[in-house]
Symmetry: C2
Subunit: 302 residues, 2 copies
Amino acid sequence: MKILFASTGEKPEVWLPLLKEALPRDELAVVPSKDVDVALVALPPAGTFEKIGRPRLIQSLWMGVEKLLADPTLPRGVPLARTIDPGMVAAMSEMVLACVLDWHRNLYRYRMHQRAGSWQRIGQRMAGDRTIGLLGLGELGSDAARKLVALGFNVAGWSRRPKNIPGAECFTDLAEMLPKSDVVVCLLPLTRDTQGLLDGKTFAAMKRGGCVINLARGGHLVLKDLLDALDSGALSHAYLDVFEREPLPASDPLWRHPGVTLTPHIAALTEPRTALPRVVANIERVRRGEAPRDLVDFEAGY
Amino acid sequence: MKILFASTGEKPEVWLPLLKEALPRDELAVVPSKDVDVALVALPPAGTFEKIGRPRLIQSLWMGVEKLLADPTLPRGVPLARTIDPGMVAAMSEMVLACVLDWHRNLYRYRMHQRAGSWQRIGQRMAGDRTIGLLGLGELGSDAARKLVALGFNVAGWSRRPKNIPGAECFTDLAEMLPKSDVVVCLLPLTRDTQGLLDGKTFAAMKRGGCVINLARGGHLVLKDLLDALDSGALSHAYLDVFEREPLPASDPLWRHPGVTLTPHIAALTEPRTALPRVVANIERVRRGEAPRDLVDFEAGY
């Protein structure tokens, strides 16, 4: 088969040797053409889809596909799969734990005290005194939930479809889940339904003085509402890894906001070593004439 | 029995109601006298031991007993027990994970970038690319090891006596363990043997550019050697929760060192709710004439 690697978001110098080793019988290409069987994409160069026609599979090397779905040149009716990379899932859970623990143990406050040279102890709370609300209980949310439960946190999760995660309370009604939550972690795909979900109404429904952690997409957050909630004390702190405009311009006052810990969209990157087997398995399914896995539901938007 | 609560380090207004409820038949006292059966201590007021003579048990409400052992008025031959508090153990593991993840995910560097308004991504590494060296594999170290292993980190542990922890490599020879370690976490009791263990020789034996996390006692660390190791790049960062002199004076330049994240000895406090059952169980053992648990080995120093 002919496999096209069309990506400005993933490095060909990393992926091509791995693909060559895993798929020695196949032809690997970086220039799009009509005879491509499978296209591996992550921010593909403009015009890619017009040049390849209708391959048997378009495999996104990333989990988030909102940009692909918004691309009018993406061929409809061609199977589009996302790569559920166990390394990326593990990295996301690390970042969830890092942010939750930073807030839970008041480390963001101790850093302010350090800058002031001030030795002040803040009362200790136990993990069991906190409830972590997870927005999204797919591959990412369920892994994070399991790891938070193992540390003794109460976990309240919200998803569109009912889920069952041992040790966690799962909700399909956001209005039931938010009032229980000290922390809200956003791990949702960005869709019509989830755009702007982290807004003033959401912050007001959470426990007062809590924390918001957005590791999903900038479009989930209404930034003005967040700043208001930090000002009023409705929220004590926010951890933001994603922004409407990336890179966030150096002039943006958000960089200097004392209530925000900001990282440059690094929570979880696709890890070629662990993503490769999933990509190869889907290519082998196509070769055998089987349906690829982890197909995107165009209606749901992920 | 007569139970004395003699502590300037733990709050009587928290402990006394809990003790009264758990031990309704016993006499609770806060004034030392010769007829005390059990003394519960955490930084007891000066003169306490001279006034109580030889009770049947001295129960430290804290795990660290180096100050008690250094007290010349502590009666020798009276059983001295430490409280192994599951809440304190959980809190310590939270702090180990918070610091390890902060270093592993480069969050201490991203905070510097945030202050500079600089969007710079640092390459992602997986937990399996890192080895976390734990000094001490008792109650604290073994719990932290288990939780680090669950996140995919390699764990190398060091203890005086051979240990077996699933998923971790356990050493009794420090010289074998250090060269494997990206991170060294100190969870040791402070004894003659462990004083000054975190010194230039230790830092030089670790993987270059690693990290030291001291959550045990200030006396474990040779501060000058740490500063040299940070200056030379032998170490990339240090997380210090404990200091030779506490509170650390506001004038100490350590507060402003960019290579040090500093917290005011808050990694893990005794949690009365979870410590109480252990304390009460030891009192009941004394009542039944049985040997108390978690006795301090005066020779080993913990």
